[in-house]
Symmetry: C2
């Protein structure tokens, strides 16, 4: 009900075909709405996105940032943009610390000797030659660890067993990722020898531990840190419940190895009227190494590339440029997103509207936006086109721009959030099961439809969405 | 309907309380049926079985035959039988070839370099130092490989992609295990360098490859043989579909290492009247090493142990002995079962009735028997007690005695088959996901109820079930 007057106003404007500029409101012309609707419907039955993610995950496979697969991923992206007919394809360098995983093993040494399945966390230290054996001490929560007496932690392997539950919006990852990023740092500060957590994942029956980055920013602070699969965490807890000292041996051959320069790979459909004004969409090209990075984030790259390709196939180029960015090294700390935002901060005002897909390939079910008030009507026009394919508009929430593009939003780019159904995302996220078979081609197509339709409408809007340096620096923390 | 006359006869006998011996039919006295019914109902609400499998999988974990965990498993079984109050606990030696798994890795070398997740198969050869790299050649079926020209196979890594589907009776494992056991042998004979299969498992989305034994009986014939997880098999097939030569590197540090002597561990509840006559039940104590052997076959050991324990807790011992056997090394070829049958062949006539649980912990839904015609009425009496807990009697099917006890059935022991619901069994069978969380304590309890009730009735039967040397040598191949 509260939106009715605005929607009515927008409808009236559309009905009369009037330009919006008169009252300062941004509006999307009726012809653009019609073309976006056709794009949407075409995309719903199109498999371009699925074919792109199939190509990436098959021909490149896992793409750990800085690994030998990293340049192969970049070459793939450059070639794919060209094959899809993008007008301009280029790269921008991204430099970050190189972290390598060579091997990882663990065993319970006592009281019940047996192997444990785990995966080292990003920026974890390696263990000494021959491994590290220490007693495991369990903490019930991150807060309990924060409040721990250093004497109980010193020289021990700390374990925290926070258990994530499945939710459509994946909100348990808030705590799951907090345990993973902050836990090792706190444990290190208190003198722990190592850190283990129950995987930040919802696949409670699968022996596929979930990796992910820690909060270590300086190699000197890093200690060995790893995630147990859910069944292995159950097993460790059962063993601990016998009340005997539990000794675990960690053997992690991982660690920092200087720095590495990769690149964001960018493809553009050049705007016909305003080539310097861009609608920025994308995903991240790197992935964690246990899986092939299908849902995280081959899907995001493919959704954005496919949306660009469908717009490119229109009879003429859109008014503004569609910029598709395949970001480098999102996983270890938004390195690609930060590099992009730093390089393009001064051009925030040229970024019409932006958002990144980085939450799998489940259907988009919610849209929200951070735009200037005068652009709210245009956002509602976009919402109206997306509503028939299952996207509900929530005007109360900010739009964050997604993971890497949150950084550009922080510089003042107006941003959407296009929230995907993440019910099962954390079953596969950051583990070996992140493979192509987890993607439903029809859900993938719905995502492409959303991105194609919104990007085209943003590119054709009369008036802008309020991007300007610093304009949205305070919100957008959602992602 | 077809069973009515016999059931009626049995009911009349029970009603009159008459002994059956008069007409030569075996019959279970009414008091025994009543006690068995009470045992059944008690077992349905009892967690002894679940606690036993929890203890085994937690305190011992994986139990690969001949590995350092093998003697720990035996010590556990001896201690558990004693703790449960069995009257007699002893071991019988079992000798078999020792096969070891140290590490296993594989990568696609060309055209798209990336790792593959696989597991070496039992009795596989190791690869040379530095690994084995060869071209992969795909065959559509085992038959296609059998009919292959040696020239197309020589020096290649053969791949067969048979895909198992879920079925309650798990019948796709017939072909799945045939590919796994026969495929490597045929490939070796044709001069292949190695053999790969799509895992004989139904977990199509899990990167947990399923191991299992091959048909190699002589180390000299063995070639490297391994199973890809289902998603890895999908990936290899996608890569093959590009039509370019696909080179794979196998690095399997596994192989034969002399011989090993383990043992079957046996616990008995001694019969009050006929201590030398036994009802033989059991499971196998060894497991494959990727998981903790919860459903295969910690569950079977626990079901049989718990059934014995519940019978032991009755006010007096049963007439005949309940013999619970925890078999050694079932996985690499029924070594424990064959040793038992060889040692006890002459005592087949003393084995009243037997069956082993080795198909997980899903509910028992079907019973069948191989007994003498005069014991059919007693089997129907057993069926009548089990029917209220979901077990349907199929008089048309033979009873096989289960995996290891099929060997004793082959020597003439009368046998049951108590078929469990195996719909999800092959999701977890022989892979890392075979862990305690896959067992539903209530389904486990139903299994214990079935084993306790039938074992007790068999122990109390007036008359026998027809066991005699050679009596059932021809059937029982079902398991």
């Amino acid at each position: 009900m509260r939106f009715f007057p605005t929607l009515l106003a927008a409808s009236l404007m559309l009905a009369t075909g009037a330009a919006a500029a008169a009252n300062g409101d941004t509006v999307i012309p009726a012809a653009a709405v019609q073309t976006a609707t056709q794009l949407r419907d075409k995309a719903m039955g199109d498999d371009t996105g699925y074919k792109i993610v199939q190509s990436l995950t098959t021909e490149v496979g896992p793409r750990l940032a800085g690994s030998p697969a990293d340049p192969r991923g970049r070459e793939w992206a450059i070639a794919k943009f060209k094959e899809l007919g993008f007008d301009k394809v280029y790269t921008e360098p991204v430099t970050y610390p190189l972290w390598e995983r060579r091997s990882e093993h663990a065993t319970i040494v006592a009281p019940f000797p047996q192997p444990l399945m785990l995966t080292a966390l990003g920026y974890s230290a390696g263990t000494p030659q021959g491994g590290l054996t220490a007693q495991v001490v369990k903490f019930d929560s991150l807060d309990a660890l924060k409040n721990a007496d250093a004497a109980t932690v010193k020289g021990k392997i700390i374990y925290i067993g926070f258990r994530m539950q499945r939710h459509k919006d994946g909100h348990d990852y808030g705590m799951g990722s907090a345990v993973r990023t902050q836990g090792p740092v706190i444990a290190s500060r208190l003198g722990a020898a190592g850190f283990l957590l129950r995987s930040a994942g919802t696949d409670e029956h699968s022996r596929t531990p979930h990796t992910g980055v820690t909060g270590f920013t300086d190699p000197k602070d890093a200690i060995p840190a790893a995630a147990l699969s859910n069944p292995d965490a159950d097993q460790l807890e059962r063993v601990l419940a016998y009340g005997k000292p539990v000794m675990v041996k960690l053997d992690l051959d991982v660690g920092f190895h200087g720095s590495y320069t990769g690149a964001n790979v960018i493809g553009e459909i050049t705007g016909r009227k305003h080539p310097d004004q861009v609608v920025a969409i994308g995903g991240h090209l790197d992935s964690w190494d246990p899986g092939t990075g299908a849902i995280d984030d081959g899907a995001g790259v493919a959704i954005a590339m496919a949306a660009g390709k469908l717009i490119r196939d229109l009879p003429q180029r859109p008014d503004r440029t569609i910029r598709v960015i395949a970001f480098a090294n999102e996983e270890m700390g938004l390195w690609g997103g930060r590099a992009y935002a730093q390089k393009h901060a001064a051009e925030a005002g040229k970024h019409q509207l932006g958002t990144e897909s980085d939450f799998g390939a489940g259907k988009v079910w919610r849209m929200s936006a951070s735009v200037k008030p005068q652009a709210r009507g245009a956002i509602e026009q976009i919402a109206k086109v997306l509503e028939p394919i299952g996207v509900a508009y929530d005007p109360q929430r900010p739009g964050g721009g997604g993971s890497d593009l949150s950084q550009m939003h922080g510089k003042g780019m107006a941003a959407l959030s296009l929230t995907q159904d993440g019910t099962y995302y954390f079953d596969y996220h950051h583990n070996a099961n992140d493979t192509l078979d987890k993607i439903d081609p029809r859900e993938m197509a719905q995502n492409v439809a959303v991105y194609a339709a919104f990007s085209y409408m943003a590119a054709q809007a009369q008036g802008d969405f309020g991007s300007a340096p610093g304009a949205f620096a305070k919100d957008g923390a959602e992602d």
